[in-house]
Each structure stands twice: as C-alpha cells, then as structure tokens.
C-alpha cells in the first residue's frame, strides 16, 4: 500500500512521549510499585488469618491475582521503550497486549476454578469450621480477625484504582485500565468476604460459600472481559477508547480533516491500536483538478500526526478510488462497523 518513499520519510521510530504522558507514565510506574507493596502486605495479612473460610480463600486468591496486572504493566513499559528495529519494524508496542492477555487468562482460569470450588462447597453442604485463636494470652474467635483483615485491606486499592484510572486515560493504557478497574471494585470483594465470615458467625454456614461464589464470579467476569479486550487488541480490532467504550474519535477526526483539504475528493482510514500508539493507514482520493503533490501529502500527514501523540505511525496512500478490500463496510456508506 504505502510506497517505499513513504516509508523513508515516515517518522517510524518516534517513541518520544509528550510531557504530559511522560509525567503520567512516571507516576503510573510509581503507583504500580506502591500497589505491589500494598499487595505484598495484604496477601500476607490475609494468609495469616485465612482459616477455613471459602470466601476468605477466594478473596486471598484475588489478592494474589492482583499482582499480575501491575507486574505485567511494569514489564511491558520496559519492553515498549525499545526502539523499532529491523526485526521489529513496528516497534514493541504489542508487548502491552501480550501482558494484558497473560493477566486476563490467569483471571479467567482462577475465577472459573473458584466458582466451581465454591459451588461444590455449597452443594456438599460443607460447614466451614472457624475456631479460636490465642493472641496476647486471650483466646477469641478467629472470624473477628478475618473481618478485621478484610476491612483493613478494603480501602487502599480503591484509592490506588482511582489514581490509576486517570493515568490510564492519559496514557491510553488498557492494562492499567483493567488494573484500575479491578482495584476499584476490590472493596466489594473485601466486604463480601467479611459478610461471609460474619454469616458463619451467626450460624449461617452457607453465607460463606455464597460470598465466595459472588467473589469468584466477579473474578471470572473480570477475566472474561479482559480476555475479550486483550484478544480484540491483538487481533486488530479497530482502535477504541482506553475503556473500550466507543471507537476512538481520532479516526473520525483524521478522516474529516483529510476530506476538508481542497485537493482531496474523499478520504477514509483504518486505525489499529498497537498498545499505546496507533497505526493508521489513510487512503485519499485526490481531485482531478487539483493535483496531490508530494508536498501536499507530506503536509497533511504532519498535521495528522500533530493532532494526537498516539498518531505516530501513519501512512497516507493516494488512490484512484477507496479500496473496498482494505476498508470493509465502505459500501454501506458513512459509519464504519462498530
């Protein structure tokens, strides 16, 4: 599609982030380290009081799984710093997608396992046994410690999640978004586990496996959502916003800008999300009367790249008419496939 000249003039290895994104990235790395630190403390704390509660087990495994997104984020941010090379002419941006998929599969598998495990406990009417613990010379019910541990670990992830959510928007980072999304919902997990344990306390043995089923369903749900998102990204779904809520507006902006040029009769582009940055192929049909000079194409491309930091890897292809085979949904006019 793109000519050899295009590739030579294209600023391919442009991996510099703008100031705002640089600051966001630095902060995100810091926040993810804080997250890992917090998780280390909370998993240890919860492990110490784990006992026989299925809900606590589910909450604990969720804590363990929560290590994956921050770790994959930190690894991926290292990998994608590398410049494109001869063997990786598109750069290493896809590392983000790989990290996302790995974390998502772990969530899916563990969530599924826990749903089955918890359901079996409910079906076999296994009564969870929680006895006493002796601390500082007095023996009291271990369930109280479990509830305390859950309440202590409920708050911090929510704060971390809210911070990360903002950074995910700035960085257009889906791993960070998935992580933030899970953190934000973490207090509900903790609360559910606490309710399960208190349920055991008042003699409702089934409260525990029911709470565990709720928690593991939420893990499974996160897993399914993230696997879908990660596979979508790796199989070149059209670029969407950081939260996958809608198609990313940049495609539309580029198209309407190109169409507005006096030498362009029609324009249409396809955009794929490489992780943080987009790959864009824009097809333009020049007017017969006004010629598409090299200078005009170059200028249009520069303007597009300046629209958004994510637009770095873009080619403009002058064509006689818009190619249906590269732009599916063309004949249905207007709106692209969602």
């Amino acid at each position: 599609m793109s000519t050899a000249e295009d590739q030579q003039t294209a600023r391919f290895g442009h991996t510099e982030l703008p100031e705002e994104q640089k600051a966001a990235l630095r902060k995100a790395v810091r926040v993810e380290w804080v997250t890992i630190g917090f998780l280390a403390v909370s998993t240890l704390l919860v492990y110490l009081v784990l006992g026989n509660s299925q809900a606590m087990k589910a909450a604990w495994i969720e804590d363990l799984l929560s290590f994956l997104p921050p770790i994959s984020f930190l690894v991926a941010t290292r990998v994608i710093r590398r410049r494109p090379s001869e063997t990786h002419p598109y750069g290493y941006h896809r590392a983000v997608g790989v990290a996302h998929l790995v974390a998502a599969v772990a969530l899916l598998v563990m969530g599924g396992y826990l749903v089955v495990d918890s359901a079996l406990k409910l079906i076999t009417t296994e009564h969870p046994t929680i006895g006493g613990i002796t601390l500082f010379g007095s023996t009291f019910w271990l369930g109280w410690l479990m509830v305390l541990a859950m309440l202590l670990t409920a708050g911090p992830p929510v704060v971390l999640g809210l911070i990360k959510m903002k950074l995910a928007r700035t960085l257009h980072d889906k791993v960070l978004y998935a992580d933030a999304d899970m953190n934000k919902a973490d207090w509900m997990t903790a609360l559910a586990a606490a309710v399960g344990v208190l349920g055991i306390g008042v003699g409702l043995w089934w409260a525990d496996p029911v709470a565990a089923i709720l928690i593991s369903t939420s893990i499974l749900h996160d897993g399914i959502k993230n696997v879908r998102g990660a596979i979508g990204a790796l199989t070149d779904t059209r670029a969407r916003t950081f939260d996958d809520a809608e198609p990313h507006p940049i495609g539309e902006r580029i198209d309407s800008y190109l169409r507005s040029l006096h030498w362009v009769r029609d324009a249409r582009s396809r955009v794929r999300d490489e992780g943080h940055v987009f790959h864009i192929e824009a097809f333009v049909v020049p007017r017969r009367t006004t010629r598409a000079t090299l200078h005009r194409i170059e200028k249009a491309r520069r303007t597009c790249i300046e629209m958004d930091w994510k637009v770095q890897d873009m080619v403009i292809v002058p064509v006689a008419e818009l190619p249906e085979e590269f732009l599916p949904g063309l004949t249905r006019g207007g709106a692209e496939r969602q």
Binding site: P128, G131, F140, W141, A185, V195, G201, G203
Partner: protein, 159 residues
C-alpha cells in the same frame, strides 16, 4: 463486578443480628447448647499415653482427663464411644459424635470430615518432628469449637 445491592440486605441482616446481642460464633446444629447440661458424646481411639481404652471401665490418659474436666465445665455427662479411627471419624462427620480424641496431630488427614481445635500442646516424636496435638470436632460447630479451644488453651498440659 459485585453488585452491592445484592449484598446490602445480607449485611443489614447481619448487623441486625449482631446488635441484638446474639453471641458470635453460633453452631449451625446447636452442639454447644445441646451438650451443656446434657451428654457429651466422645469417640475414643486408642493411642498409647494419650488415650488408653481398657476392656472394662472408663478410658484413661491425657486426653480423657482433659475431656472430663471440659465436660464438668459444661455440666455434661460424658458418653465414651470406643472404636476404630475411620468409623469414629465417619460418626463425627455425620453428627453422631460431639468430640473425637486419639492423640491426633494438627496434620491429620481428616480435615474434610472433622474440624480441628487449636493445638493445645506439642511433643517431639522419635524422628525429631514436632507434633501439635489437637482434638476433632464436628465441622462448622464453631461455638462449641471456640468453647473447647478456650478451655484447652487455658490448660497447662504436661506429657
């Protein structure tokens, strides 16, 4: 994601129950209530030093002595049920026993069939491994278990 609206009624119910002064934990099958002032059905498995079961008369040893004191605490009569370990474990699993003793240690394989107390004493076996001694209780009878744990933790058990 969890639905908070689903959990709220449960939470309110629990808060209601706890604020009504209901003791936590409770036994789903009411073991503690039934045993107090009643009969404590105790399975005994022969285990030299810990539980000795003579052909006639009452079991002797460290654990029967503890159980008798515990029963006295609860104003309960002890009904001794001697038998083979796996049979008695099956009995306690099906709620036909309230307590099972036999020099069990905390790494007992019976954790699917019975609840275990906190270790109340430790010994070292001939291979130099530490054994943490426990008793077996019915699964999920947490008020009874806590009562027993409190009692056992308060004892100085010399072996």
């Amino acid at each position: 994601m969890l639905n908070i609206r689903l959990m709220l009624p449960g939470l309110l119910l629990l808060l209601g129950l706890t604020s009504c002064g209901i003791a936590i934990p409770q036994d789903p099958n009411g073991t503690l209530e039934r045993v107090t002032g009643g009969t404590l059905r105790v399975g005994v498995v022969e285990n030299a030093g810990w539980v000795e079961v003579p052909p006639t008369g009452e079991p002797r040893g460290v654990e029967p002595a503890l159980v008798e004191e515990f029963a006295e605490n609860l104003d309960a009569e002890v009904e001794w049920v001697p038998g083979a370990e796996h049979e008695l474990v099956d009995d306690i699993f099906h709620g036909q026993l309230d307590l099972l003793i036999g020099g069990f240690s905390a790494d007992t394989p019976w954790i699917k069939e019975a609840g275990i107390t906190r270790p109340y004493t430790e010994t070292v076996d001939e291979r130099g491994e530490t054994l943490k001694h426990v008793m077996l209780v019915p699964l999920g009878e947490n008020a009874f278990l806590l009562r027993l744990d409190r009692f056992l933790q308060a004892q100085e058990v010399e072996v």
